[in-house]
């Protein structure tokens, strides 16, 4: 048996059959009754929106931190340096006193 010929014959039979496009009675009503309340945004767009909001918040925090560090640098840089020296060299001072 020629299987390709059989296959083609069956496909021809399927092709000749008109597709049944009949819509059941009141199907529109059923669809409308089952629709969600409002078109829902897809998850990716929700995630994208949240990401942009998060990015804006991060940028604001970064700008605030930079501004604060610049302000403290201009207003109290020397005293900060002295404090740092004292903390770093505290061990060495104690060592000298021990001797």
């Amino acid at each position: 048996m020629d299987l390709e010929s059989l296959r083609t014959t069956l496909i021809d039979a399927g092709r000749k059959a008109p597709a049944n496009a009949e819509v059941p009675y009141a199907f529109e009503t059923r669809v409308m009754a089952n629709l969600p309340k409002a078109p829902v945004q897809d998850l990716f767009s929700l995630w994208g929106t949240a990401l942009w909001k998060g990015a804006a918040a991060c940028a604001a925090i970064t700008a605030l931190t930079v501004a604060l560090s610049l302000w403290s640098f201009h207003n109290g840089a020397d005293s900060d340096d002295d404090t740092l020296d004292m903390v770093v060299l505290a061990g060495a001072d104690q060592l000298t006193e021990t001797w």
Partner: protein, 191 residues
């Protein structure tokens, strides 16, 4: 005066849900014709078409209006039908003894003389439906779109989201799979 699809879609997106109904009325016949090629029971067909409409409503914001609404809707419909096939995949094979009398008679006639056998188209369609039901979802989809609905490879690529090369490869495999299924059915008696 009848509103255009674009007007109706714009109204739905503004919150006028009732404007969705004319779209459902207009395009449901095409969706039912498509769904009936993949689902056998009428309840399943109705569920598939309803799912297509619910998805269309939910994703309406993603419709940009570059192409006609019908194209966008048919892509959605093909994807939903493909998901349906994947969810209802059967893993059993029909043997010759399971065929109906009409199908067996049709095959007998075909073996004796292939030409007149095409006359009993209903039995041939039943046999075709039986074979398609056993094929893998991708194979069934591609055979239906390419050979039964006679769509072009490019059109199928657009509908399914597959590349043109993938459609060709799947069509080649689908034909081979179909021959294998037919061989399995016919082996008992004719081969």
């Amino acid at each position: 005066m009848e509103q255009s699809d674009a007007d109706l879609i714009a109204a739905v997106l503004k919150g006028e849900t009732s404007c969705f109904e004319p779209l459902v009325t207009k395009y449901s016949p095409r969706l039912f014709a498509m769904a009936r090629r993949y689902a056998r029971r009428e309840s399943e067909v109705q569920d598939v078409v309803q799912e297509i409409w619910v998805k269309a409503y939910q994703k309406l914001q993603s419709f940009r209006g570059d192409a006609p609404f019908e194209h966008w809707l048919m892509r959605l419909a093909v994807h939903t039908c493909y998901d349906f096939l994947r969810g209802h995949q059967r893993n059993r094979e029909t043997t010759f003894s399971e065929l109906s009398t009409a199908e067996t008679d049709w095959l007998d006639h075909y073996v004796k003389d292939p030409a007149p056998a095409t006359e009993d188209a209903a039995a041939a369609r039943a046999l075709l439906e039986r074979v398609l039901a056993e094929m893998s979802p991708a194979a069934r989809l591609v055979i239906t779109l390419l050979e039964i609905e006679e769509r072009s490879v490019k059109e199928i690529a657009s509908l399914t989201g597959w590349s043109v090369a993938l459609v060709k490869v799947r069509a080649f495999r689908a034909r081979a799979e179909m021959r294998k299924k037919l061989a399995k059915i016919a082996r008992e008696k004719y081969l």
